[in-house]
């Protein structure tokens, strides 16, 4: 199981939260209370109405489900609404969705303790809560009908938003609404027996936002227009860690439409009447000097070389994360194999570059944007405007992708927007627009990583000892989320907890986390982006040396480890792929299996190198066990999209630095997967009645080792660095 961002467990201690709140709010006397309570301080009392924070019912009977999670493509808002509708017996075709505003008290993620979307937790953490919200609303309508008709609640049924009683009596939610709203919500609403579900798990659970997203509706931060709104762009340091020394704004201020130009901590802000003028104003800045004394001046090749040196240095600052057996003599035998892997920085490159709209008036601050972790944004902004976190108002909009980028621990672009809006002042709306170049060169990358693996192999061809060294930057350590913990679990998740280790007597796994001014962050599937490749490609190389089929090799290890879920997912993937049936014309299959965010996912890829030498994937199988699949077609959509996102990174993804300068500035340099490179994908869900687990991320990392393993099987050798296609 991957680390979940629980502030109690992962560093944001009560003490940290109190300190933050104290800093933000001045002299505050806070007694013992939870971080969520502290972080909600300053929030106005919210009146959610009779049905609570998750359900609203309009006079015409329209049911609106409030999604506590942001919708950035993963389909969560639809899934959560379906859970509410199921327990309510609402008319699903008429259910609408609102995204919850920032409100830590009402909408905290039950696994994180703060309001936020991440770690593929949405359905996992909200499943029971949404069922209860729907069931409570249903019970209120049933009670209202029972009182009106003078019958027992047990004699009442509900279907598609219509309440039915004995003798053919019936009434709609709209008709019963005034009475239902007066019924006290049940403390412990009775939930349905899952065998009585009529919506959950069916093909009827289709997205609620497809129509709006197919007609160009203004859902996104980029689309916000407000009366008197100004648009800002910022000139940032070209190097990570660089600081503005001086600049000349005279020419920029003369550009038609430019309103103001001023310094902010992250660079030079150009504020204008519209986006184009702001961009032209930025281009007109002259004599801009940066202080690079604390900047990263190295090239990414040099950083990687330093990682490799560190990996070979027993005296480096290592932290053990999996240790069993006696490693001192385990690697003395004749059959020890050595593997190394290099991973580049990756940009999230969401289609909508980062942006935000803010109003600041004194210490009052309001925002409209796609906030992924509202509580963190509120915390960070409270310190900027001098108020309490809960007093920061956030209206949540749909995001044009994120893949983790909008969940930035220090709220980088959000803070930048609010600093500009604060300087503009007067409650004037300011939209900060990052250009694609700002977004791509702006850091918060999936960290670069180097893995060094030694495996001692027994006479039967299976591992008997596993030594693992990971060198990677930590983006958690020392932050509000990571605190002072020595081990950042996100750096090693997927090596840590590997099912293979249960089948290997000796394990010695350690991590070192060098620092750099280059900023890094979680990136769809986080640690698994590299650990899945390392574990699964190593497995295939071991299997090949042992002359054992890769599927059979895994089966043996999973059986020994008692990893039943892995076994089931692997078997279904192998069956659907036609594993073992020969392929012609140079095509080869590769398999990989990886658990992340509580779900196990397997991929089989059919791969061939094309004439130019690039791997071409023509067909891919993706199988997941994610517990109850609330919206099976959306799970399939996540397997398809997640696979393509991972494949894009595996084939082409890399951010490189030369003398500290990012070389890829837009989609011309940062190549991503396109229609002609996307495989045909077949998705399968293992039937399950278990509590729902992650879906948005587990489908991403598995394709990379599946492709590497297909290339290995196809006679192209082992892959030791990504991306597959070097530019």
């Amino acid at each position: 199981m991957n680390a979940i961002l629980n502030p109690d467990k992962l560093g944001l201690t009560r003490r940290d939260a109190i300190v933050t709140a104290t800093v933000a709010g001045g002299a505050l006397a806070i007694g013992a209370c939870s971080p969520a309570q502290v972080l909600a301080m300053g929030a106005p009392d919210a009146d959610f109405g009779a049905f609570g924070p998750f359900v609203r019912i309009a006079p015409d009977g329209t049911v609106t489900a409030v999604s506590k999670h942001i919708e950035f493509g993963q389909g969560t808002a639809t899934g959560l609404a379906a859970v509410v509708a199921e327990e309510m017996d609402a008319d699903w075709d008429k259910v609408t969705i609102d995204l919850a505003p920032g409100n830590t008290k009402a909408y905290a993620n039950t696994l994180m303790g703060i309001q936020g979307t991440g770690g593929s937790t949405a359905m996992n953490e909200a499943w029971t809560q949404m069922r209860q919200a729907g069931a409570a609303a249903r019970a209120m309508f049933v009670q209202a009908a029972a009182d009106t008709w003078k019958v027992a609640p047990a004699d009442i049924t509900v279907k598609n938003g219509v309440v039915h009683g004995p003798g053919g009596k019936s009434a709609t939610f709209a008709e019963l609404l005034p009475a239902a709203a007066k019924v006290a919500p049940p403390q412990k609403p009775v939930l349905k027996d899952p065998k009585d579900f009529t919506l959950i798990g069916t093909a009827r659970v289709t997205r609620r936002d497809s129509r709006a997203k197919s007609t160009g509706a203004p859902l996104f931060t980029q689309d916000v227009h407000e009366p008197g709104m100004l648009t800002a762009v910022v000139l940032h340091s070209p190097r990570f860690g660089g600081k503005l020394k001086s600049f000349d704004a005279a020419a920029a201020k003369k550009v038609s439409g430019v309103v103001d130009v001023f310094e902010i901590p992250t660079g030079v802000a150009v504020v204008a009447q519209n986006t184009y003028a702001a961009r032209k104003g930025r281009e007109a800045l002259t004599n801009v000097q940066w202080d690079d004394a604390k900047a990263e001046m190295r090239s990414s090749d040099q950083i990687l070389a330093a990682y490799k040196t560190m990996a070979a240095d027993p005296k480096a600052d290592w932290t053990a994360f999996e240790t069993k057996g006696d490693a001192t003599t385990a690697f003395a035998g004749p059959n020890v194999q050595h593997f190394t892997y290099d991973f580049p920085y990756l940009a999230h490159a969401a289609m909508e570059p980062m942006n935000c709209v803010a109003w600041v008036d004194g210490n009052k601050c309001k925002l409209k944007f796609a906030s992924q972790i509202p509580t963190l944004d509120q915390m960070n902004l409270a310190a900027v405007v001098g108020t309490l976190p809960g007093a920061i108002q956030i209206e949540t909009l749909y995001a044009g992708g994120s893949f983790g980028r909008r969940g930035c621990i220090d709220s980088d672009y959000v803070v930048e927007c609010v600093r500009i809006a604060k300087q503009v002042g007067g409650n004037k709306p300011v939209k900060l627009v990052w250009t694609r170049e700002d977004d791509m060169t702006g850091g918060r990358y999936r960290p670069m990583a180097h893995h060094d693996v030694q495996v001692a192999v027994g006479a039967d061809g299976y591992p008997v000892a596993w030594r693992h060294r990971v060198v990677i930057q930590s983006f958690m350590k020392g932050t509000a989320m990571g605190g002072m913990a020595k081990l950042d679990k996100l750096t090693v998740e997927g090596v840590a907890g590997s099912p293979y280790f249960k089948a290997i007597p000796v394990v010695d796994a350690q991590v070192a986390t060098p620092t750099s001014p280059v900023t890094t962050l979680w990136w769809r599937s986080v640690g698994a982006t590299h650990t899945a490749m390392v574990m699964e490609h190593t497995l295939d190389q071991l299997a090949m040396k042992a002359k054992i089929d890769p599927v059979a090799y895994r089966r043996a290890l999973y059986t020994k480890a008692g990893a039943d879920k892995h076994l089931k997912v692997l078997n279904l993937a192998a069956e659907k792929a036609g594993w073992g049936k020969p392929l012609k014309d140079g095509w080869a299959r590769g398999v990989a299996v990886h658990e992340s965010f509580g779900s196990v996912c397997a991929n089989v890829a059919e791969v061939k190198r094309d004439k130019g030498g690039e791997p071409k994937v023509r067909r891919a199988i993706s199988v997941i066990d994610c517990g109850v699949a609330v919206a099976p077609d959306q799970v399939a959509a996540q397997l398809e999209g997640g696979l393509n996102y991972g494949l894009s990174a595996g084939l082409f993804g890399q951010i490189t630095l030369k003398d500290g300068l990012v070389r890829q500035t837009n989609f011309d340099g940062y190549r991503v997967l396109r229609m002609n490179e996307a495989p045909a994908i077949e998705s399968y869900i293992v039937p399950s009645a278990a509590h729902p687990t992650g879906v948005g991320e587990p489908g991403t990392p598995v394709i990379i080792p599946a492709v590497a393993n297909a290339l290995l099987a196809g006679g192209h050798g082992a892959t030791t660095s990504l991306p597959f296609v070097k530019s």
Binding site: R211, H225, M351, N666
Partner: protein
């Protein structure tokens, strides 16, 4: 200087400099925000509109070059195009940000080639990036709208 633009059948007098890309006039002046900014260098397709029926990247089309041409944006389809219906039927969008551009490219494709082959779909759609990776559904929806058999994702 004012440029007269014909957008979705309406005439708009546009005061912006003739070198201003159509994208920013659409979005910031006319508030036709269905057309998206994605890259600004014609590398992602999010800003695709039609000029006299041909797909163009509006981020690279100065308004001064478009006088007299008939511009159609996603709003000009009025939500009534069979491609849009197919997009909804297949639940193509994930985040949805690129979909206006995808749809405009697809509409131009099926107008030109009513029964596009896979290779024709590849050629027409390769200029439109979808970071959510909804490519299989984009392909299926185009084929469906074109009256061809299209199997959506299989779910066991």
């Amino acid at each position: 200087m004012t440029t007269q633009l014909d957008i979705n059948g309406k005439t708009y007098p546009v005061a912006a400099d003739p070198d201003t890309p159509l994208l920013w006039v659409l979005r910031d002046e006319l508030h036709l925000t269905g057309t998206k900014y994605g890259c600004g260098i014609a590398a992602c397709g999010a800003c695709t509109v039609h000029a006299d029926g041909q797909p163009i990247r509006s981020c690279q089309a100065p308004v001064g070059s478009l006088a007299g041409m008939k511009i159609t944006t996603i709003e000009g389809l009025n939500g009534a195009h069979p491609i849009q219906a197919a997009w909804v039927k297949h639940d193509v969008p994930q985040c949805g940000y690129c979909q206006s551009g995808q749809i405009m490219s697809a509409v131009a494709l099926v107008k030109d080639k009513p029964k596009p082959t896979d290779a024709e779909i590849d050629a027409a759609m390769a200029g439109n990036i979808c970071r959510c990776g909804a490519y299989p559904r984009i392909r299926a929806a185009i084929k469906d709208a074109a009256g061809q058999h299209a199997s959506s994702a299989k779910v066991a």
